[in-house]
Symmetry: C2
Amino acid sequence: MDIKTALLAFSALSQEGRLEVFRLLVKAGPDGLAAGLIAERAGRAPNTLSAQLNLLQQAGLIESRREGRSIIYSACFDKVSDLIVYLMEDCCAGEPCVASSVQAAAERALCCAPSSSVTS
Amino acid sequence: MDIKTALLAFSALSQEGRLEVFRLLVKAGPDGLAAGLIAERAGRAPNTLSAQLNLLQQAGLIESRREGRSIIYSACFDKVSDLIVYLMEDCCAGEPCVASSVQAAAERALCCAPSSSVTS
DNA sequence: TCCATATTTCCATGATCGTTGAAATATTGA
DNA sequence: TCAATATTTCAACGATCATGGAAATATGGA
């Protein structure tokens, strides 16, 4: 991940409404949510939400697919991984204290997860 | 880390100038850099830089101390750790694919680092 | 083809942000 | 105390951003 991409991602996550939408989509998992449903749950106008979804998508953090009349948005977990790794490697190169606490958190997350879904 | 704090951190890192300054301070390590030196290296006016440093500090990503006539800024590595862990745990809860790739990166970072500086 | 549904695009407005010149503050040394 | 250095604060400006109303686009069903 280059600095331009990271900047886009941070920018997309730096606004309350967008971060909220992103977390909603993360919780929804790979199946995602229809744009209308997101607007309803977030309590915002559909066009406002459309702009927010657009920005998150441009940043590569979410993706969309059409299903009938609805457009389903879902989180791009690999891009979030990239962002995390960028923060750790590029921003914090040579600082083991960061790496070690992150490693501990990753292990906590993995030990209570189904091993089948680990795709490295 | 709560969502408000994360939002501040993302916001602080979402602008090219500030991200650049932050990376400069990360590379400088715990010793940090004087404000004037940062301005010189970043090629920006001292007062512009002061505003950027201020924002990064409010977000908790950097800290300052006075040394004589200079004010030395340095990165808060523990806060970056917090942000990374927040992204992984709170934003990506239940997604082992994120945790496993992050764990791999953390291990790479740790294996080539002096073990003495690991403070978990 | 026509209508209803789902979402986006266009446009305008108010709000926030980034930058800079000028003035103010803090520290050091004489 | 005075002058020099280092940095910040203040005020103002131009630029960018977020939002929502209205119109446009795309799909599905009759």
